[in-house]
């Protein structure tokens, strides 16, 4: 049987009495690009944070390549993570930041330097290498975070809204990188608000609403779920998150104005 890259079973994340993720379950296989979709505040980021061990789930099970999250050190060595809010060490330069990441990940100098040279070229960040991260634009910070996530060539990429702030070139390159990573057998989980990208890029998508998984599968599976053969992922999304009726009323109200 094929080993799953990520297994999430009955995951519940809560902030005090507020339940952000409620009994969530899904599986991501190697070679898959799994899109996490959902309206604002649906619980996508909380799910991702629980997957990488930043948040402790109230209950449920998370396994990365058959290892429980408790085995933190080994699990995190396999993950490349790009946070939604790119908060790095602002007073460091990208060079110093990469040096820290490479040290913590125990990467060999010769290997990491050749990778870094390639990533700096690909994301066009070489000229900012000695500039404090605080002085970089959001897009350039994002590129630094992406390069840092790819530095150790992880088996699993977890990207939280990775395309926000990126210019067209970097966005295109990242999409190519994600596809290439999956083709090589790596797994990708990424959350996005941009339906077109999810539709083109993802092998499967999971739609979260109010912390619960309300739809999962390929776009075709979801079309079947909502009994529509023509709807785009955006239409499906609105339907399964029960926002379709609201949307019609809003559009009508706007037209009347």
């Amino acid at each position: 049987m094929e080993q799953a890259a990520v297994i999430v079973e009955g995951l519940t994340v809560a902030y005090g009495r507020f339940v952000a993720v409620d009994d969530l379950s899904f599986i991501v296989k190697p070679g898959e690009i799994y899109g996490l979709l959902g309206p604002n505040g649906a619980g996508k980021t909380s799910t991702i944070k629980a997957l990488i061990g930043v948040l402790q789930p109230r209950s449920g099970r998370v396994q990365i390549y058959n290892m429980p999250l408790l085995d933190e050190f080994v699990v995190k060595s396999q993950i490349g993570y790009v946070p939604e809010e790119v908060v790095l060490f602002d007073s460091l330069t990208p060079r110093e930041f990469f040096e820290f990441i490479a040290s913590v990940r125990r990467l060999k100098a010769d290997i990491v330097n050749s990778r870094l040279e390639r990533l700096a070229y690909v994301f066009d960040v070489k000229q900012y290498f000695d500039t404090p991260i605080a002085a970089l634009s959001r897009g350039n910070k994002q590129k630094v975070a992406i390069a840092a996530a790819l530095l150790h060539e992880p088996k699993l990429l977890i990207l939280d809204e990775p395309l926000i702030g990126l210019d067209a070139r970097a966005s295109k390159i990242l999409k190519e990188l994600i596809t290439f990573h999956a083709k090589k057998g790596g797994a990708v989980i990424f959350s996005t608000h941009i339906m077109e990208i999810a539709e083109k890029l993802c092998t499967r998508v999971g739609i979260i609403n109010k912390g619960r998984l309300v739809g999962e599968g390929t776009v075709e599976d979801l079309q079947r779920l909502v009994k529509s053969t023509e709807g785009s992922l955006e239409d499906i999304f609105l339907k399964v998150t029960q926002q379709e009726m609201d949307m019609r009323e809003i559009v009508k109200a706007l037209e009347e104005e």
């Binding site: 460091l92 040096e99 990441i101 125990r106 900012y128 605080a134």
Partner: protein
């Protein structure tokens, strides 16, 4: 827009800046998303800034009281009364300058770097209105201590001396000291933000600039510390050295002595030395002109903050030769990262320097003839207590990037080991200072050094204990403890076990010493080693 409206808006901006100062100490992206928690945080931020202002005011007020002691209670001194009072007022002005600057530096950098101007500029407000809002907000950071010093001190001074002129002179002196403090604060904050935090590429020049900045930055900290601790001695030394003709005239030209003489002679007209007063008045006029220039600089800087939307400096493309990095072992990578971040943050850097400066100050206050064990214990206790403030600070360095750091394969053991090592190196630096001073004054400090080296085991144990508490809390709750200046209460509670750990071997050694036993050093060594070994075992099982 009406002034009252602008005043109201400035309150909102002020609250936001207070909030940002505390928000920056939380775990950014993993900040609890509950409405209740955020409201609690907002309230905490407001209370914190209020407490900071009140504490500064209490410090100023307490120190101000010492100025009146010779006047109110007729304390007899060998030097003439007017010189003692001149010395007292001078010391008070210095303390005021240092304390206001110190307090301001904690918040002004976040004020300068705040993105609030971006929000304001999107509103239908003119640049002049935005500048005014920012200026009012800036004043709100300092309002209580500034007003208290400016109003209460002259009234009390006028009352005790029975001279309205004396009250007026002290009012002017304090006003000018406050302008200097604000100019120093905003000048350093703007410089820090534009040239150091957001400035261009890292080079040797920028490292040098950073070092100079930190030296300038720590002056208010240690200036306040020094003047408060040695106030009486300073006043007396001042009074005795100014009894010679040439010295008193030269001193009357130096700030803040010029204002000290002015305030003192205004209170005691029968004791006036007219040539000294003339020197003092000329100098005071010069300093007043300089203060007017400083005020202009303050207004200009604030206007700039109001106009330069989106930050002071933006990144520019630079020629970078290569992308080569040098990875190290994880623990050393953590240490390098921590030192780099600390060296770019004045409040962090000053705490790194504190043990060494504390040592230097303590050494000079030592009786050089013979060193008793109680002096050694006192010294080691002072340095150790300051050193063990470092571990929580080293964790709070992770700051907003904590969420990212947690996603890395970095275990608790490595983190504790790295941060304990940094703490010990800082402590060892104090011993190097001690050794250097011993060489300079040609005294035998070998006993202090022997105890000091053994004591490093207890300091390491205390550091490991604190860090294991902090990291457990961090791992579980995801909250960073923050800056010592703003979260003093929280720090003290968690640092207490560390203090106890450092105290145990020192108390044991003192007890054995007073019992007359020759086993002081062996017992001290055994307890320190036991503490270290016990903590090491605990950490290895983390």
């Amino acid at each position: 827009m009406k002034f009252t409206e602008l005043w109201r808006l400035s309150r909102t901006v002020y609250n936001e800046i207070s909030f940002q100062s505390i928000f920056a100490l939380r775990v950014g992206s993993s900040l609890p998303q509950k409405d209740h928690d955020i409201k609690q945080l907002v309230r905490n931020a407001q209370v914190n800034t209020l407490i900071s202002k009140v504490i500064t005011t209490i410090f100023i007020g307490t120190f101000g009281f010492t100025v009146f002691m010779p006047i109110a209670f007729g304390i007899k001194a060998e030097a003439p009364k007017e010189l003692v009072v001149a010395g007292g007022v001078t010391a008070f002005l210095a303390v005021l300058l240092f304390l206001i600057a110190l307090m301001g530096l904690q918040v002004t950098t976040s004020f300068v770097s705040s993105k609030i101007v971006d929000v304001l500029s999107a509103l239908p407000l003119s640049k002049r209105e935005i500048s005014l809002i920012i200026f009012l907000c800036f004043l709100k950071i300092f309002d209580i201590p500034l007003l208290a010093a400016l109003v209460i001190f002259p009234i009390v001074y006028s009352h005790f001396t029975g001279s309205i002129l004396a009250g007026l002179a002290s009012f002017i002196s304090i006003g000018i000291a406050e302008i200097f403090a604000l100019a120093l604060t905003i000048g350093l904050a703007v410089f820090f933000y534009s040239k150091i935090l957001r400035g261009g590429r890292r080079s040797r020049w920028s490292t040098f600039l950073r070092f100079i900045f930190l030296v300038v930055w720590v002056i208010p900290t240690f200036g306040a510390y020094f003047v408060i601790n040695f106030a009486t001695q300073i006043t007396m030394v001042f009074a005795s050295i100014t009894q010679t003709f040439s010295t008193i005239h030269s001193v009357a030209l130096i700030y803040p002595f010029s204002f000290g003489f002015l305030a003192s002679y205004s209170a005691f007209p029968d004791k006036i030395n007219y040539s000294v007063l003339s020197f003092s008045i000329i100098a005071c006029i010069g300093y007043s002109v300089f203060a007017a220039y400083c005020l202009k600089f303050i207004l200009h800087s604030i206007r700039q903050i109001g106009c330069e939307v989106g930050g002071v400096v933006t990144s520019a493309r630079e020629i970078v030769k290569d992308t080569i990095i040098h990875p190290y072992a994880p623990w050393f990578g953590v240490i390098r990262k921590d030192l780099r971040i600390a060296s770019r943050s004045p409040s962090y850097a000053s705490l790194f320097l504190l043990p060494a400066i504390q040592t230097a100050l303590l050494v000079f206050s030592f009786p050089f003839s013979e060193l008793e064990l109680n002096s050694i214990v006192g010294m080691l206790l002072g340095v150790s207590l300051v050193t063990i403030l470092l571990p929580p600070l080293l964790l709070s360095i992770e700051g907003l990037a904590y969420g990212y750091m947690r996603s890395l394969p970095l275990n608790k053991k490595t983190l504790i080991f790295a941060k304990t090592l940094t703490t010990i190196v800082t402590y060892a630096f104090s011993l190097v200072v001690l050794f250097t001073v011993a060489m300079l004054v040609k005294k035998n400090f070998s006993l202090v050094l022997t105890f000091g080296i053994i004591n490093s085991l207890a300091v390491a144990a205390a550091s490991m204990l604190e860090l294991s508490f902090f990291i457990r809390k961090l791992w579980k709750e995801g909250s960073v403890l923050g800056n010592i200046y703003t979260r003093l209460g929280t720090f003290i509670l968690i640092v207490i076990p560390g203090f106890v750990m450092v105290l145990i071997p020192l108390i044991a050694a003192t007890t054995v010493y007073f019992l007359g036993s020759p086993l002081v050093l062996p017992i001290f060594s055994i307890i320190a080693t036991l503490e270290f070994t016990a903590m090491l075992i605990v950490i290895l099982h983390e």
